[in-house]
Amino acid sequence: MLRIEHYSKTYPGGKKAVDDLTLHVRPGEIYGFIGHNGAGKTTTLRAVAGVMDFTEGTIAIDGHDIKKDPVGAKRVTAFLPDNPDLYEFMKGIDYLNFIADLYDIPADQRTADIGKYGDAFELTGSLGSPIGSYSHGMRQKLALISAFIRRPRLLILDEPFVGLDPSASHLMKGYLADLCRGGSAVFFSTHVLEVAEKLCHQIAIIKDGRLVKCGPTEALVGDSSLEDVFLELEGEK
């Protein structure tokens, strides 16, 4: 579903944010991406989503190269940044329709999906209000709904649990699993190692822009815990 081959990102001035990263996410997988602050997680996720340009390597989503066929790749993707800023001059329902229009989602499908996810996240009643009046958590939920209604082949999430209440987090985990059961894949970054350990089929650990370990969660963690593995790799244990 997602193939990252020898991806590198160098910032002006020569600093390498990510160095020669190769990583594959298969359909049906939830793939966790963990690392310290500044390790290169967000830089990688933004490059995968086609939001940020990169210097070396290739990234392909469902067979679409993000550089050669960005529109094709984005059509099957949904990306959620860590702090999603949404158009404050729009109402919640206008934003969802705007996204649905960009992704050519038919009217009946969008009505059904907005109702389903809106009710689940307890946001339907507020969809008629301007986004400017939403709390941080409500914005996060709206952004999540806007991602789910696309029925993406690949869902990219940057720190998705920040700002969500426990019940919304629980719901989201369920929907991520549903998505994967339908053959899609999820690639997300998180600092919540317990969640990553329980939720992910595969985990990659990145340090200073380089991939230091990746593989199936059980194999990676073994008899230890993800926290222990992570701290050991980071040289803090």
Binding site: A100, Y103, P106, T111, G115, G118, G128, P130, S133
Partner: protein, 529 residues
């Protein structure tokens, strides 16, 4: 006091950086900031110098120089109000750093004062650029020698510093009203739009009355001055500058007292005001019904329209030119007999180019595409992750300006052509020239918006009112109009047909060049933001 100056430094730095683009190194940023300031200073000095000269030419021989300072003072007051009143909502009450600064051990009055001082400094620039040229003109043209003493300049300086205090106090009060309305009225944008419409109507009414007074000056200058008794502080300022220290001090008190009342009064309730203005709670009674689907292009155009009509700052600053264009066209048609009589008095002045210049001036003020990229700012990720190509995004933003400007141009052009009794070829040539100008203006605006983006602006006020892209997007097309006028004049020396052909050719070349550059370089420029 130390804390106040630290806060003031932050406010001023933020204000100075507001006209710079968000990319490039600090030297480039400083250069663009200084460039924008120089541009505004030049225009202020030029316009004030020009009008002061015209007025002084009539008034100096009858020793009524003080009237120049009354009119220039009113101009500075109204201009400053227009410039800053709607910035107050963002700068004083809606800063993104409100939570941070309000959590610090600083008195709310000091915090409020530091932000109000940033507004004061903007008004001070306005006051300086308007009153200083009037002083210089007075010194050169006076026949009573009033402008030749050092004390005259000292009094003028005092007026320059005092006037913005009054301006700032009025701006803050109006800005607080706007912030209150946008928070408390369910359709906040509509409420703000109504306030802005009333305010602009008052400004235009005042300007028209001022014009009438200026026309009367030569015949009855003393009568005009006496009729301005309702603007007593301006009379005191003018008489003060001319030598009456008592009146100057009365004027200074008239400026300082309201300023102090606003700063200390609102300062005491600043925390409550900021909290109340920011409090917007979402309703929870929405019932989902069947949704309708539309295409990408319509969705993106609707998004631009929602932003434009739903952001009063954007609508009134960028759309005022179109309102003026339509108003000019309709007014010309309704009052065509008066207009023709007036034009008959201007013997030898070519009517069609004059009408085209008026239309072009209004269109120049319609800067919709130029700030649209910067207004994406923190929302840019939404468009970047969407399955839409960069060139489509660029043409939709450019097209949105054309969608509004083309119908207005056609309506105003037809109205003016009928009102002025232009022949069919002349009317068609004027309309063609203005449509080409509108096309070039939109494409140039988009190009300049991509070249000087301001993606890190603290609010839309900074982008719409102070960004370099908006300044250039407005004044460079005005320069192009000047070039057209020059070409018309040069062509007219050879033949009437050449006089028409040269400006149209220039506008066509300008539009084509901007569109071509946008086509070739635009997508890469957008991608690199």
């Amino acid at each position: 006091m130390k804390k106040f100056f630290a806060l003031l430094k932050v406010s001023v730095q933020s204000m100075l950086l507001s006209s710079t683009n968000s990319r490039g190194n600090s030297r480039k940023k400083a250069a663009t900031g200084v460039g924008a300031m120089v541009l505004i200073a030049f225009l202020g000095l030029y316009m004030s110098g020009f009008y002061s000269f015209m007025l002084m030419d009539v008034l100096a021989p009858i020793h009524m120089e003080s009237l120049v300072f009354i009119f220039m003072g009113m101009g500075a007051l109204v201009g400053g109000l227009m410039f800053t009143a709607f910035a107050v909502k963002g700068v004083v009450f809606g800063g993104r750093d409100n939570d941070l600064l309000l959590s610090m051990p600083v008195s709310t009055t000091a915090l409020m004062a530091s932000r109000v001082m940033a507004i004061y400094l903007e008004n001070l620039l306005f006051s300086l650029f308007v009153l200083a040229p009037a002083g210089a003109v007075c010194a050169f043209m006076t026949q009573s020698g009033v402008g030749h003493s050092v004390l005259f300049w000292a009094r003028l300086l005092l007026a320059v510093f005092a006037l913005p205090l009054l301006d700032t106090a009025l701006s803050v009060l109006l800005g607080a009203l706007v912030a209150f309305l946008s928070a408390k009225v369910s359709r906040g944008a509509l409420g703000q739009n109504i306030v802005m419409a009333l305010y602009l109507a008052a400004v235009f009414w005042f300007s028209f009355n001022l014009n009438g007074m200026i026309e009367e000056l030569a015949a009855n200058a003393m009568g005009v001055k006496e009729s301005l008794s309702w603007a007593a502080p301006m009379l005191w300022m003018a008489d003060g500058i001319m030598g009456d220290w008592g009146r100057l001090l009365a004027f200074a008190a008239c400026c300082i007292v309201p300023f102090a009342l606003v700063v200390f009064g609102l300062g005491k309730v600043y925390r409550q005001a900021v909290t109340a203005f920011a409090a917007r709670s979402a309703r929870s009674d929405y019932k989902l019904s069947a949704q309708a689907a539309s295409g990408q292009t319509k969705a993106l155009l609707m998004k631009e329209a929602r932003r434009f009509f739903g952001t009063p700052m954007y609508f009134w600053n960028s759309g005022l030119g179109l309102i003026m264009l339509l108003a000019a066209g309709v007014a010309a048609l309704v009052m065509r007999d008066d207009l023709r009589m007036y034009l008959d008095l201007l013997e030898g002045v070519p009517v069609m180019p004059l009408a085209a210049l008026v239309m072009g001036f209004c269109l120049s003020m319609t800067v919709i595409a130029a700030p649209s990229v910067s207004l994406e700012g923190k929302y840019l990720w939404i468009l970047r992750e969407a399955p839409v190509g960069e060139s489509a995004l660029i043409w939709i933003k450019t097209g949105f300006q054309l969608l509004l400007s083309v119908p207005c141009t056609v309506i105003a052009g037809v109205c003016l052509a009928i009102a002025l009794g232009l022949s069919l070829p002349d009317g068609a040539a004027m309309l063609l020239a203005m449509l080409l100008f509108g096309l070039g203006h939109a494409a140039f605006g988009m190009l300049i918006g991509l070249t000087f983006p301001k993606l890190d602006a603290v609010n839309e006020t900074v982008v719409v009112k102070q960004s370099l892209a908006v300044c250039l997007g407005m004044f460079v097309p005005m320069g192009a109009l000047g070039m057209c006028a020059l070409l018309y004049w040069l062509g007219g020396m050879v033949s009437g047909a050449l006089a028409l052909a040269l400006p149209i050719a220039l506008l066509a070349a300008w539009g084509a060049a901007c569109a071509l550059i946008l086509l070739k370089k635009g997508p890469a420029m957008l991608r690199s933001l």
